[in-house]
Symmetry: C2
Subunit: 128 residues, 2 copies
DNA sequence: CTGATATTTGACTTTTACGTAAACGCCGTG
DNA sequence: CACGGCGTTTACGTAAAAGTCAAATATCAG
């Protein structure tokens, strides 16, 4: 496990630009260390970036991702806060479950479309 | 099964604005019928809207949704086109599978976070 | 027909998530 | 030392996906 990653290493790994990483920092999603002005990304930063990318692919906005990231942090010490957090987790999970339903339905429709194509090919006497 | 839905009926049903529906029409995603100038949405239009909304929730752009919608249409008659379409379907399905992985991973991380919260509550002697 | 309500078109605005360009610092190499 | 390569900040630009507003029509109940 490396100590630090440079900004360009991460851009290559995740296929994003330096601008994007700086933007995520501006937005408070990540807080890479510094040597002078140069950003040093720790493994934990790298993991966060991975989570952000995942969130983006799933169509979450930066704000939603910020909320999700908050959740990953150490659980708070106070009972009220803990219960609040559990409620927020449930809320996010509901969103994710909705997305999963959307996903399954979309995949199913694509499967149907494919089947229709294949049938059509068979009708045309094309060996599949 | 109703023959037609008004624009506001659909906005209520899907929680979107009239502007959004007109935008989707401008973008060529839907083609509601008309009586005079007034749009009449058929069940098939309604179903399309449902698919669009699903796509949006999954983080697809309008262009990507346009491509997906093309796929749902009647399969083309020509062999080359059919094979091309099957390839495009496979491509979309890969994207969806990636999203599913993202989804599962995110859900898992949320589950872990929740577990940590619950444990913390137990430590504090709170009945769950 | 009339007044209320719904719809349409068109123009302009906004938000999000970056892209792009300019101008400069730091550092290792030949 | 100057040069290339990587990194930084600041500032402005932009495309996508609607939101907002206005003014003109259309539809429908009574």
């Amino acid at each position: 496990m490396r100590d630090y990653y440079s900004i360009t290493e991460l851009t290559r790994e995740f296929g994003i630009s330096t601008r994007t990483l700086r933007f995520y920092e501006d937005e408070g999603l990540i807080h890479p260390a510094r040597r002078g002005r140069t950003r040093l990304f720790r493994p934990s930063d790298r993991h966060l970036v991975r989570q952000i990318i995942r969130g983006r692919r799933l169509g979450f906005s930066i704000n939603e991702i910020r909320e999700i990231i908050q959740i990953y942090k150490e659980p708070p010490g106070e009972v009220g806060q803990l219960k609040l957090m559990i409620a927020r987790i449930a809320e996010k999970r509901d969103m994710l479950r909705q997305k999963r339903r959307d996903l399954e339905e979309t995949i199913e429709e694509l499967d149907n479309a494919e089947e229709a194509c294949v049938e059509r090919l068979v009708e045309l006497g094309v060996s599949t």
